[in-house]
């Protein structure tokens, strides 16, 4: 029963990881920008929700919209003010990484000045667990996170496969020059990718805020998980990132059956290392070994 409990906890975590990783993977796959500040978007969305819902006492729908707006402003702003100027000069992958890391440091410390360094939780009735079966405790959040993840993934795959803008965005990943030849603006498409990717971090941020809570330093963890899921799933594959996110979430929780909680990150990254050494192209990626 404990194993089942851990698996279900893992599913909840995994769904959130899948959403976060999908945003990161989308941005990285389509624009080739290593958006290491994706975790900062998550932190901003979470704290925006916390502020509006818990501190200002607004209705949860308004708080959710507020969190979405904050995430989009931050993600798009970062692209326009930081990444695009850097890309203009022939910058390496790591120039972007260091700049993004700088942004993470700034966000983390601004948030800790305003809200303190500790964890904050928004109180709702949703997070209270009830006993479903003898010894099995579940809160409605498990179902909500599964539902939200499925909804968002359905929406994003519809968008990418059926709409014109979605198709152009996928073209951007293959050949930005060709996109320009067809009269579309790669920069504008990249901006849309950043907006969508940032929105994907919002539901995960909100559900984390009302379940286990968030701290200003949680951004690092979010980026590491996103990166791991992106690689395990295969770069450029949203489905891969999503499935890998679920696998990592479940593995992290089920591992608790055998080892202490201090080993969870090590478990995640051991899986990542195994994949990189044995199957670097990931679950759905193309072969890339050099």
């Amino acid at each position: 029963m404990l194993l089942l409990q851990l698996t279900l906890n893992g599913v909840q975590t995994g769904m959130l990881y899948a959403l976060i990783a999908a945003g990161f993977s989308l941005i990285f796959g389509m624009t080739k920008i290593f958006h290491a500040a994706h975790g900062a978007t998550f932190v901003i969305a979470s704290y925006a929700f916390y502020h509006l819902y818990e501190l200002s006492g607004l209705h949860w729908t308004i708080a959710t919209i507020g969190a979405g707006v904050a995430a989009v402003i931050f993600g798009a702003g970062l692209y326009l003010l930081l990444y695009r100027p850097i890309q203009r000069s022939e910058a390496s992958f790591f120039t972007v990484f260091i700049a993004a890391f700088g942004a993470v440091v700034v966000v983390q410390n601004v948030v800790s000045i305003i809200y303190g360094r500790g964890f904050v939780v928004a109180q709702t009735t949703l997070s209270s667990a009830s006993e479903i079966l003898p010894g099995l405790y579940l809160s409605p959040l498990v179902w909500i996170s599964v539902l939200v993840a499925v909804l968002f993934f359905a929406a994003i795959s519809l968008f990418l496969n059926k709409t014109n803008m979605g198709i152009s965005i996928r073209a951007l990943a293959d050949n930005p020059e060709l996109v320009r030849t067809f009269g579309m603006n790669p920069n504008r498409l990249s901006l849309y990718v950043f907006i969508i990717g940032s929105i994907l971090a919002v539901p995960a941020g909100i559900i984390t805020t009302i379940s286990v809570g968030v701290s200003p330093a949680v951004g690092h963890h979010v980026v590491m998980i996103s990166l791991a899921a992106t690689i395990v799933g295969g770069i450029g594959s949203l489905t891969g990132a999503a499935i890998a996110g679920v696998i990592l979430g479940v593995a992290e929780n089920v591992a608790l059956y055998w080892v202490g909680s201090q080993w969870t990150e090590a478990v995640t990254f051991a899986i990542l290392l195994l994949f990189i050494i044995l199957r670097p192209s990931g679950i759905f990626g193309r072969a890339i070994t050099n």
Partner: protein
Amino acid sequence: MTAYLLTVFVFICVNGVLAVTLNFILGYAGIFSLAHAVFFGIGAYVAANMALYVTTDLFVSSLAAVAVCMVFSVLLALPALRVRGEYFVAASLGLQIIAVTIFSEWHWATGGLGGLVGIPSPTIFGFKISGPLPMAILGLSCLVLVTGIIAILVRTSLGRNLMAIRDSESAALAFGKRIAAIKVLSVAISAGLAAIAGSLYAYYVRFVNVESFMLDTSILLMAMVIIGGTGSMIGPILGAFMITSLPALLSYVPNLPAQHIGSIQQIIYGLAMMLLMVFQPSGLIAFFKKREKSDVA
């Protein structure tokens, strides 16, 4: 006051050694490692254990640290042989995270989260080295020694082979270069020399715990190399100087609210990184190069 400045100076030397050794694989071989703090850590733990239980002789304990680091460097070389680019970054990140977990859980070797305390001062041929000034001299000698070794290595055939691999792996392969051996060797050299910084750090601070060897340290080392300028000797040292002395300089800024001083320092720090990358993406070294050019003109 002087003691404080000397302390900052020793840390600049420690970080300088780390940045120079990281740049050896990053700038010359194109191996973007986010796990350099792991070797810094292994070096520090080995030196600390040697000092506590075997000998305080600086040479013996540093050599032991170098040897152990070179052995463990295989763990980083293995993924480097398989993948490049962002895949390798992710692999090194994985190594870093797993290493931190092991550092904090392997109690008898690392003292767990509490770390190893009461490390005695080092001795050279029986003479005890203690106090800020002798340590600063020792730190500077380490930095000069390591930079010298790397500067020579870069000019040998190994260095040219590395740059060839960085620029085009298939071309180097076509010229009959043994890429695997060259990569393994360069990673071993980088990790081994990083152990010297670990040893110096352990002896100076006289206390090591996992906090100093986490992902943040690896990222900061990466930042030093990038901010200073990759693929040069002076660049990483410049970067190490800047990143290490910035918090110290910021502590002289008046009228900061005491309660948030740490956070405000970090914010200035983060902003500086962002601005530098936007306006000077090839690193601080470019300022100097530009001036040279304009002098000629």
